[in-house]
């Protein structure tokens, strides 16, 4: 039986069994992974996964079931199971789910790429990683080094009982290196292009442009230098947050906080809720006037770029913070309807065997007007911190603490001493309201975060975050002791 026929079969059976709405996702994912650890190829793996997930609304409640067996009998079984599950959920319901206007999207989307990453040989990819590893290893004092590459091709068919039918092929490419130095009772690390790896919806060209080997020696040298660097001082100071670290700051303190399912309590037992309650929409000064944040699923190579979300809603761009004022959420059909808004297409599932949840797409801090050199020159006394090392935030997204791989003292407008074990902490709206400068697009980068956890059962989301360095006043730093 053709794959499209399985999709139709599931929706037909769901309707017969009483589903007022159904949608079906048929997903096939191919992934290549390469990991090199200190001169040894740790992993060279090709991973394939396929399956089908059926979501139904019966008696106003959701049911979902999925399987990796793509046969008519199995599709019948999971469709019936999804209906049974929805009927059970309806016994413990707060009222029927409303999805708002029907979604009838049709079309085909493929991530625009220059070079298919699967067309580049595994030998070449391994040589690239091994050369970067060799160059890191040439630096005296390095105790461990890692490098990784990942390439993903996901082919997804979505259809719903309202008439939507879309087909997408999403490509992702990513890579990164890390050097660890140990000595004098200290352990330090440096990564490139960012912690773990940089990843985007892109082709091979995205990884080629990183020049991992060309940056390997510098990365390792910085790790060794950190062993004898001064400790980050403790106190309240002016902080310039580098672009990569600021991307994660946006992710944790804005991206999660604007997920409307969190706001409404759906994630309370696991990841928590959000301080951006619905009364604050269009009525809350989230940050200073310098702060403009956009959520979009169209800005490549952002890792949250696609043609339609997993409810068939078209990709789009949504203002979240305008001149510091909070103006928008990430929404699903169900949550948006509750606020009398249209969905902005933010529902994604990590796999065929997971239901879609509201996930960040590309939540980005828009560029400001400063050149980075000018911003440093304009800073009399402070610290520049860059590249994430640790991250933590409370369950309402208020109190955060980040650690960075590296810091530099700023004295009289110039970068000074290297600093190690840098940390900063704050309360989200206080922090963003203390921002008085954002750098321009010269230093703006779309960062990819491929490890965003949410949901039960757990889902790993892939999100994008554009950011440029920005300056914050009166920030508590040096919270290690």
């Amino acid at each position: 039986m053709a794959m499209d026929d399985l999709v139709t079969r599931a929706m037909d059976l769901a309707a017969v069994k009483g589903a007022a709405y159904s949608d079906v996702r048929l997903v096939e994912t191919n992934q290549e992974r390469f990991v090199v650890r200190t001169g040894v190829v740790d992993t060279l793996s090709n991973d394939e996964s396929q399956g089908i997930g059926v979501r139904v609304l019966v008696n106003g409640s959701w049911g979902f079931a999925s399987t990796n067996i793509l046969s008519p009998d199995e599709v019948d079984r999971i469709t019936s199971l999804a209906v049974e599950i929805a009927q059970a959920a309806a016994q413990s319901s707060n009222g029927p789910v409303s999805l708002g206007p029907p979604v009838t999207s049709r079309g085909v989307y493929t991530t625009p790429i220059q070079i298919d990453p699967f067309s580049v040989s595994s030998e070449y990819k391994l040589r690239l990683l091994l050369e970067a590893d060799r160059r890191m290893g040439s630096v005296k004092g390095i105790s461990a080094r890692t490098g990784n590459l990942i390439f993903i091709k996901e082919h997804k068919t979505f259809a719903n009982s309202e008439g939507a039918q879309v087909e997408q092929t999403i490509y992702e490419a990513g890579g990164g290196i890390m050097a660890t130095a140990r000595g004098g009772g200290e352990v330090q690390r440096r990564s490139y292009p960012q912690s773990m790896r940089q990843q985007g919806c892109a082709g091979w060209e995205f990884v080629a442009a990183m020049d991992l080997a060309g940056n390997a020696e510098r990365t390792a040298t910085e790790a060794v230098a950190l062993l004898s660097a001064d400790h980050c001082p403790s106190g309240v100071t002016t902080l310039i947050v580098g672009a990569s670290q600021l991307g994660l700051q946006v992710h944790e303190s804005c991206g999660h906080a604007i997920e409307l399912d969190r706001v409404l309590g759906s994630e309370a037992a696991y990841a928590g809720t959000s301080f951006l309650t619905t009364d604050k929409l269009n009525n809350f000064q989230y940050g200073s006037e310098q702060i403009n944040i956009t959520a979009d699923s169209v800005r490549l190579p952002g890792l949250g770029s696609y043609g339609w979300d997993d409810e068939g809603v078209p990709a789009q761009s949504t203002p979240v913070v305008q001149n510091g004022r909070f103006v928008g959420y990430l929404t699903s059909r169900e949550t948006a309807t509750g606020l009398s808004l249209p969905s902005n297409g933010s529902m994604r599932a990590s796999s065929w065997n997971r239901i879609p949840l509201i996930r960040m797409n590309n939540v980005s801090l828009e560029p400001g007007g400063w050149k980075l050199d000018d911003l440093i020159a304009d800073t009399d006394d402070g610290i520049l911190m860059e590249m994430n090392r640790s991250w933590s935030i409370d369950d309402r997204r208020f109190n955060f603490q980040f650690g960075t791989e590296v810091g530099y003292e700023i004295k009289k407008g110039k970068l000074g001493k290297l600093l190690r074990n840098c940390t900063y902490t704050g309360i989200t709206p206080e922090f963003w309201n203390a921002c008085d400068a954002v750098c321009n697009e010269d230093s703006w980068t779309m960062w990819g975060i491929p490890n965003c956890g949410k949901g039960q059962p757990g889902q790993i989301g892939h999100t994008g975050h554009g950011a440029a360095p920005a300056r914050f006043r009166n920030v508590q730093v040096g919270v290690m002791k």
Binding site: N46, S92, L126, A144
Partner: protein, 449 residues
Amino acid sequence: MIGRESALALLDRALGYSKAQETDIYFSAQDLGLSRFAGGAIHQNVAHNDIVLNIRSVAGKRLGRATTNDLSDTGVQKAVESAHRNALLMPEDPAFGGLPEPSGPARVDSWDEATARCSPESRARIVRGVCLQGKEHDLNVSGACRTGVLEIAVVSSRGVRAYHAGTFAGLIINTMSGTSAGWAKGGSWRLSDLDTEVLGREAVSKAVDGQNPVAIEPGRYPVVLDTYAVDDILEALSLYGMGAQAVQEGRSWMNDFVGVESAQGVQAMSPSVTIWDDGSASHGWPVPFDAEGVPRKRVDIIIEGVVNTPVHNSYTAGKEGTVSTGHQAYFTGGPIASNLFMQEGDSSLEQLIGSTERGLYVTRFFYTRMAHTKGCVMTGMTRDGTFMIENGQITHPVKDLRFTQSYVEALAGVEHVGRESKLILNEVGFATRVPALKLSSFNFTGVTV
């Protein structure tokens, strides 16, 4: 669930496609049912089953990998060939000593028919009961109830042939008032082990007692940590350093205590701290063998506060001329201690609190991450119930605090250990059985709004 015969037949069929010098295949299958609730009602209700074949192919000192869940002849053959092709592309790894030898049957009983057969209606009944408990106190109740079956099997060209099927059940309850929250979590391989009413009462009482919390100044306080917080400590110590790969690469907190001849036997933690890993213990979450088919041995990791040894897979063991302890928890990555136990003491929770003149009772940590390798310095938040202790009594709830604290140093300050332990079963197959602890000092570095 496909059962022993079908699983082994599938693996034999896959092995038959291999032209490699050596091959092993790790079969991992899960049937999961999960009912998630919020606002007192089920809002996400799901089921899935998946079977994944994880294939390793050997060519001399080279190891290639592939995974697939396409179980057709074509799909399986393609994955087996892909693993072999990947092996041939790899450079030699002199430290690779080949696939593990068979080491006898490893069996534990962790199958419960009632848990395996738990229906969506049964889970919904549990949810309704818990939500009613919260409703009686005007609390918003959310959480998740899950049941399911895990099957694993390993077959290799060296003769490894192992299969295990176990069940699992878990219930998480979060309760919220306008100013407070409570939490409870139960897990076991038997659904009947979960006293859902007791768990509901636990979550409710924390939210009721925690209303109108008071902000206190950050700083160092003696603490009584309930089991969920202790679970977080063990999980972090495991993930950030109880595996031999981290130790061999010099990025483990253990590096200050093992592998350095002069430091062996150094007292890292209080003598009342003893921690071990045991995948065969039925009062944990037993899984008899690892992803390489090696039986999970009991490993004494911390003995009376002295660091003894990390856990190994076959690769890390081979590098040190020893044998695997059976801790290759997943298909890739290093060895992980994932069935941890902490030795109980002789104090009741009331005695732990009663021994504290002025300190904090912390029921749970949240969003903890490593801030520095050395000493396993972690930062995170308290959540869902934090209380002030004065003169041996809980006096009032406090607003959640951020901490930045070395977990090794924290366990060096253990003054008393609870006499009862609780099994904490995490979603990803990581389990601890831990008691509550009284620590002399814990470093709180911030307070939330």
